[in-house]
């Protein structure tokens, strides 16, 4: 700044002072919540373009909100996926099971059975319904709040709990934080704690599928906060450049730990609108409307499968609980937000829809919830026989050195031997090595 005069007093001269804008959420603890600023369009009014359409023609859909379930609990408009009642009940069942699972695992963490847990309360539709719109062998690259996908894909619940407890039954050998599952058999990619890293990886997988002339597509999930990561933007660039058969699902649950979505840019535009700058198809969807979630994911999957290109979907939803068991949301947001959220609860809305079309009732719902809770409880007990975190029933000690490389190099062999020596000194009684 060669033309800047020296000395603090003279800096800037008589020019107006610049001011830094630091985003601030509308409501803090103790505030009365008013969500009337949110534009919630009527269900069924959004157009459903052809799956092969040009992203340029989707401007409105990137700023609007695709909704199917109306105030009358009926399905409306061109996005109604017209699912049969059995499929709807299955969807409801998976979502209820996901919630029951979360409740039990949360409690397990509070009981000291594991170090950490993350619920997806209020977001169940964004994983369960979206996942149901994919083929079972489409590859998913989830983030950490998509346990609903595993439940929907029939991954054994005991394996999920073994992983959460890092016990001797944990297929990941106790190496990953709880909830960071992996199942190649279920086309579920290993979860990373570093955010958004899986987004461009999903694009790479989809590119590989296209290179090989496969018919499988990839889908990835990322939180709205993590769209600020460079990886997300690399993913968008590669996806559009190579026309990759991939779906980029952005879960806008309003909060990234204590930072509201404004810190990822939500004050200025929608997350779906980011698609437009890249030339991607962009859809903004009511994430608490299971039918809309299914319909949008199905639209994007059809588009990808038809070689018509990638889609970025913003699921507009709300994180009803804390970020994790290590988080206390009462410290940074109004307690009213959850109850006042204008798009309701995804499970309640789907249940009410089934009731409204005469395919369900409260008694059956109660029975289903009870059965789900009992199944989770029984499975938890079964998993606990394999051990809980920190109680000694974990994978053999030597496994710590496995899988760093395909073959054990000399330096890891030496370190492994040292670890075993230490173990023998610490536990002369002969614990499993």
């Amino acid at each position: 700044m060669a033309d800047r005069p020296d000395g603090a007093a003279q800096q800037g001269g008589n020019r107006p002072k610049l001011a830094l804008h630091v985003p601030e959420p509308k409501f803090r603890p103790g505030d009365t919540v008013d969500f009337s600023h949110l534009q919630i369009p009527e269900a069924g009014k959004q157009p459903r373009p052809d799956e092969t359409c040009d992203p340029k023609d989707m401007h409105e859909l990137a700023f609007g909100l695709v909704r199917v379930l109306g105030e009358d609990n009926k399905a409306h408009g061109p996005w109604d996926p017209k699912l049969d009642p059995d499929t709807l009940r299955k969807m409801l069942g998976h979502m209820a099971m996901t919630r029951a699972f979360d409740e039990r695992m949360f409690r397990g963490q509070r009981q000291g059975k594991t170090s950490f847990y993350m619920k997806c309360t209020g977001e169940e539709a964004t994983s369960v319904a979206a996942s149901m719109a994919l083929a079972a062998d489409d590859m998913v690259f989830p983030s950490y709040r998509q346990q609903g996908i595993l439940i929907q894909r029939g991954y054994p619940m005991i394996e999920m709990i073994n992983q959460i407890y890092s016990n001797k039954g944990d297929k990941l050998k106790g190496r990953q934080l709880p909830i960071m599952y992996s199942s190649r058999e279920h086309s579920f990619f290993t979860i990373s704690g570093n955010l958004a890293t899986q987004t461009p990886q999903a694009v790479g997988w989809a590119m590989a599928s296209a290179i090989k002339g496969d018919s499988r597509i990839a889908a990835t999930w990322v939180g709205e906060g993590s769209t600020a990561e460079g990886d997300f933007h690399s993913a968008c660039t590669f996806a559009t450049v190579y026309h990759a058969p991939v779906i980029l699902n952005v879960i806008n649950n309003q909060w990234a730990i204590s930072s509201f979505s404004g810190f990822a840019g939500a004050e200025r535009t929608t997350f779906a609108a980011r698609a437009l700058g890249y030339g991607l198809a962009g859809l903004r969807v009511d994430g608490n409307d299971a039918l809309a979630c299914f319909a949008a994911e199905q639209w994007a999957a059809n588009r990808a499968r038809a070689n018509a290109g990638p889609t970025l979907i913003e699921f507009f939803t709300y994180r009803a609980e804390g970020h994790s068991t290590s988080d206390d949301p009462s410290g940074y947001r109004s307690a009213q937000e959850r109850s006042e959220w204008p798009l309701g609860d995804p499970i309640t809305r789907l249940k009410d829809h089934l009731i409204a079309i005469g395919e369900w009732d409260e008694a059956r719902q109660e029975k289903m919830d009870l059965e789900a809770a009992e199944l989770v409880k029984a499975t938890t007990k079964e998993a606990e026989a394999n051990g809980i975190l920190g109680h000694g029933l974990h994978h053999p000690f030597r496994t710590m050195f496995e899988d760093v490389f395909e073959e054990l190099p000399w330096h890891l062999k030496e370190q492994s031997e040292q670890a075993i020596r230490e173990r023998e000194i610490k536990f002369p009684g002969g614990l499993e090595l």
Binding site: R175, T190, T197, V203, G204, M207, A208, S209, F405
Partner: protein, 332 residues
């Protein structure tokens, strides 16, 4: 060496349809150093293609491709540009096998020209190999001859672990004596440059004894192998010159055997000194060969500054610095 690398890629692609080559400018143009010239024409655009200028994207996409079952060979145009892709390499590619208990692997080989001596300034000359050797789960390979470049690259591509393959660009076209004002000699004048046609492999983790001698052991890799050879010739020093070839996995047996024989150890690399790979080598030699040592282990390295454009030859660990170190270690 450029032709040898090109040949290794072609041989690997012919043998395995899952090998794909990608990176900035690698397709139609064949790469800024021409290492991938002609490959797109031969193997098609879906197996050899240009990428956006996004190192993070290039590495990440390769991780996803590896998880699918391909063997991607991404090129990072200069090692100095690899940093935006570091998280994908360190937290993702390197740990995929571990965190998924073997369910997913990233069998990728990241090729990248590295090192100085070409007036590349601070953004085209760095030697970041130590960063990668510090990461559990990555292998780091650095050839110093065309023969090795081909054999090691084929091994790297076939390896099921992620490999960083650093190509010493100062010796792409011929070995380098360390005197910047002496004209480079083309590779074909040197025996080491004879590159057999077709398929052959050099195993990762095996060092090459570039010269044999009783006076001391010199540990080097890449360009510095040739500089060290030239200095020893000039000074009449008879050294075991171990070309490490791979830093991880490291050929500790060859290092121990040589140091136990000679009793002295000089370590030479071009990267900055502090926490460089020379520090690891020095510690290993001291820990494992202390009672055989006749003199302290000595390191010759670049200085702890960024690579300065106009003062490149003041930075470079050339004959004067190496000669001084040799005098010191041999006088003790």
């Amino acid at each position: 060496m450029i032709e040898a690398i090109n040949d290794a890629l072609a041989v690997s692609m012919e043998r395995d349809p899952n090998v794909v080559v990608m990176g900035e400018d690698v397709g139609y143009f064949g790469g800024v150093f021409r290492c991938t010239a002609g490959l797109q024409e031969k193997f098609g655009k879906t197996r050899v293609f240009d990428t956006p200028i996004s190192e993070c994207g290039i590495i990440a996409v390769a991780v996803g491709m590896g998880a699918y079952g391909l063997r991607p060979v991404p090129e990072i145009q200069f090692a100095d540009y690899i940093y935006p892709g570091l998280d994908q390499l360190i937290s993702e590619a390197a740990r995929l096998r571990y965190r998924s208990a073997g369910e997913y692997i990233a069998p990728m080989t990241v090729r990248s020209p590295f090192g100085g001596g070409i007036f590349g300034g601070q953004t085209h000359s760095q030697s970041p190999e130590a960063i990668f050797t510090h990461v559990s789960g990555l292998k780091t390979v650095i050839p110093s001859t065309p023969y090795d470049a081909k054999g090691l690259l084929i091994s790297a591509i076939e390896d099921n672990d992620p490999v960083i393959f650093f190509e010493p660009k100062r010796i792409y076209n011929g070995p380098f004596s360390g005197y910047y004002d002496k004209p480079a000699q083309p590779w074909k004048k040197f025996d080491a440059s004879v590159v057999p046609e077709g398929y052959y492999k050099i195993p990762l983790g095996k060092a090459r004894l570039a010269a044999e001698g009783e006076q001391l052991t010199i540990l080097a890799y890449g360009t510095m192998v040739h500089v060290v050879e030239a200095v020893c010739r000039e000074k009449g020093v008879e050294a075991d010159i171990l070309d490490l070839r791979t830093l991880v996995p490291l050929d500790i047996e060859a290092i121990e055997a040589s140091v136990e024989k000679t009793g002295r150890c000089l370590i030479v690399h071009e990267a900055t000194r502090t926490s460089g790979f020379g520090a690891e080598l020095s510690a290993l030699v001291t820990e494992r060969c202390f009672y055989h040592l006749e003199a302290p282990v000595v390191r010759v390295t670049g200085f702890d500054t960024p690579y300065p454009h106009s003062l490149e030859w003041a930075y470079f660990p050339g004959p004067v610095r190496i000669g001084e170190a040799l005098d010191k270690i041999l006088s003790e």
